[in-house]
């Protein structure tokens, strides 16, 4: 009898839990009044951790695209953005990729900022037949290294970016380049293609220094590079490290021209260096600054109106366009993964978007990538073509 009583307690607890659980769950459902069928789209990116600024910027832009779509009266469906955090790690990336792609109610995904994460998950998307737009990862292999029909990418690859970067550098007359790059996939990838393209154009790498991304002291490396007297110090890595390099260059009184990759172009670089420190730094970005994009002004206005607490950052526009394209596809062929994949695969030719025309090639890679060289002027990143450096009013430190 006593034993029966001990059993009684857990059963009571379970009953209570189940009842309360049932009571809670219907309330949490979306009670949206629209009669349209709801279609889910996944957004996957680093929402926490060191890269969360860019991840949150991308997410906000994707939210904006969904918001716009839902306020378009002509649309047949109501869209819902399901957000997943990949923490920019392969393990979490795999988990959320599976979570998104295994949920049949999710039609497509806007995924990943980190290239390694994207490389780790493309198999999962392919297996699930899950149409995926890569919004921020730039490693070429993500689209070009496989035959997966489901993977698309609007931003250009590291190959394209560095081809243009090399051309830009050569055009400005920099011949001898000293290189620092971080040993992540990002830095290494950029360096590989930059070197290839620069050498094709007759440039010369006088020193190459790989550094750990968390290395604080770069004096030894910079001293060594400076001893080779380069025209330009080129750095491949993200903004915090870029800040470190530039700060230490300043401290060492190295006046050589400094140039970075797309990861450098954000507010952090300018705010940490101050207008004086960042003045004249060069970089090249995918697409163009939001303001000079075809639909940039409207995007910025809408973005501000939604009062997101984080800036869109460099890849926000791509996340917006990716989401928008996904929605267009669903509008055209309905919420069916296979049809959406097919549509994206075959029909995206010269489609107008806020970043200009988008065309997917046979790998699902946007064939018309747009790149803009940028220069930091008065504490702001501006397109080089529109800057006072172009007009000759100011002069780059190392320019001949």
């Amino acid at each position: 009898m006593k034993k029966m009583r001990t059993l009684f307690l857990p059963i009571l607890v379970i009953l209570a839990l189940v009842i309360s659980g049932c009571a809670v769950s219907p309330g949490s459902g979306s009670g949206n009044g629209s009669k349209k069928q709801t279609v889910k789209i996944a957004f996957i990116g680093p929402l926490t951790g060191g890269n969360s600024r860019i991840g949150l910027g991308g997410r906000n832009s994707a939210r904006l695209a969904v918001y716009d779509a839902n306020h378009n009266k002509n649309n047949k469906y109501h869209y819902e953005l399901v957000e997943y955090d990949d923490e920019n790690t392969t393990q979490a990336g795999n988990q959320v990729a599976l979570k998104a792609s295994s949920d049949p109610s999710v039609i497509g995904g806007i995924a990943h900022y980190g290239s390694v994460v994207a490389l780790a998950t493309v198999d999962t998307y392919h297996k699930a037949g899950f149409p995926t737009m890569i919004w921020g990862a730039v490693h070429p292999d993500i689209t070009l290294g496989n035959d997966y029909k489901e993977i698309f990418r609007v931003p250009g690859t590291q190959i394209d970016q560095n081809k243009q970067a090399a051309e830009f550098v050569t055009k400005l007359g920099f011949k001898k380049v000293g290189v620092l790059y971080d040993t992540t996939d990002y830095g290494r990838g950029h360096f590989k293609y930059f070197k290839e393209n620069l050498q094709k154009l007759g440039g010369q790498i006088v020193a190459e220094m790989p550094v750990q991304p968390d290395q604080q002291d770069l004096n030894a490396e910079l001293t060594k590079i400076q001893a080779k007297k380069p025209d330009l110090i080129w750095f491949a890595g993200l903004a915090p490290e870029g800040v470190r390099v530039k700060k230490q260059m300043d401290a060492m009184n190295i006046k050589t021209q400094f140039m970075g990759v797309s990861g450098l172009v954000n507010e952090e670089y300018n705010s940490a260096l101050g207008a004086e420190g960042s003045e004249g730094s060069l970089a090249i970005i995918d697409g163009a600054p939001t303001s000079s994009l075809p639909g940039g002004e409207k995007f910025m206005k809408d973005y501000k109106a939604r009062k997101y607490s984080e800036a869109p950052e460099a890849y926000g526009p791509f996340a917006y366009v990716s989401t928008d394209l996904m929605i267009q596809a669903i509008e055209k062929v309905g919420p069916d993964r296979k049809k959406v994949t097919n549509w994206l695969d075959t029909k995206v030719k010269n489609i107008d978007s806020m970043i200009g025309k988008v065309t997917f090639n046979e790998h699902g890679q946007n064939d018309m990538p747009l790149f803009t060289p940028m220069v930091s002027q008065d504490g702001k990143w501006v397109p080089y073509a529109e800057s006072e450096y172009q007009t000759g009013k100011r002069k780059l430190p190392g320019k001949k």
């Binding site: 034993k3 001990t6 059993l7 857990p10 059963i11 607890v13 379970i14 839990l17 189940v18 309360s20 659980g21 809670v24 769950s25 949490s28 929402l47 926490t48 951790g49 969360s52 955090d85 920019n88 790690t89 392969t90 393990q91 795999n94 988990q95 599976l98 979570k99 295994s102 949920d103 049949p104 290239s115 390694v116 490389l119 780790a120 198999d123 297996k127 490693h139 292999d141 040993t183 992540t184 996939d185 290494r188 790989p210 750990q212």
Partner: protein
Amino acid sequence: MNKLIVLLSETVLFALLILFLIAESVSITILFIVAGFLCAAAVLIFPKKAERIIKPFAKERRTAIIFSMILMAILPFFFTTQPYWLLTLSLAGIYIMLANGLNMQTGTTGLTNFSGAAFFGTGAYTTGLLSVHLGLPGWLTIPAGMFASVLIGAILFFPVLKVKGHYLALVTIAFGLMFNIMLNNTDAIGGPQGISGVKAFAIGGFDFSGMWAIGPFIFSSYANNYWLTLLAAILALAFTRYIYNSPVGLILNYVRDDEWSSKSQGLNISYWKLIAFCCGNALIGLGGALYAHMIGYVAPDLFSFQTSLLLLSMVLLGGMDSIPGVTVAAFVMIVLTEKLRVIQDYRFLIFGLLVIIMIIFRKEGLIPSRVRPYFPKLKSVLMKR
């Protein structure tokens, strides 16, 4: 009667687990967590009453273990459409192996190992490389991964046998960092991009990446991998338990607690430390090998200091030298962090605070290790007198 209690309470626990996993809504998750905390608190406050529920388990150990295995084995039937949770549970299984391997080193033998992730990586990379470049089958690559992990561990550990305490901690920290840097910088093994396209495990013509069905239930590769991991985890746990209850476990405990008196009992402590390190690494390597086959992709980012710290926290939270404790801790930490993506950015902060609080107020961990009964028969004989 005891049997009934065991069967019933296990079924209930199992049902709760499935409900917990399926529940999407945040409020239910939190409800579950609060309930879990309350239960844990109740066990701590009323140990006598809790003993009454635990006792049937001790008496009907065989039934309890077999039935829980059956329950875990039928779990994929509930998740045919949600392979995500199967992946997460498989990961939890792998972490159970890793944490138990580390427990054998740190908990049982007192060897502070801050490079668990490095040996995890050794197993995963070896398996991945052999599978991708040589196309070896899984039943060869998995033992190879284990072996590599043991070998690398022994090579590192053999010279530092004489180094103790803080110094051993520092050596392993340094080794873990060096390992991660080397993975990132060596292009031959993929550099920062790691190795992709590791084949799924396959045996006797059955490919674990394939789908199959029983009636209306369709099982994906994740279910297959889940079973594989479950099997491996059960074997690993059986192995650790066997070691723990064998004279070897006693000897390792002795080496941990008092080196001098172990020496005076004729124990070659260097030898036994090496044995413990290798056994632990075999489990860690096994986890790595299974991970490589399951995910199909191995990259350096996972094998970092952060992961080593996570593994050590599992051992510490669960209870040093306590196999059930470490197992529960590994399981809860993996599943709960998945469930608690809501708190997002504050995860690490909360986590760190939790570990500190635990260390200060309950050093022995979640489920403290008990005095081990080496000679239960003898005990009953003695107690009768």
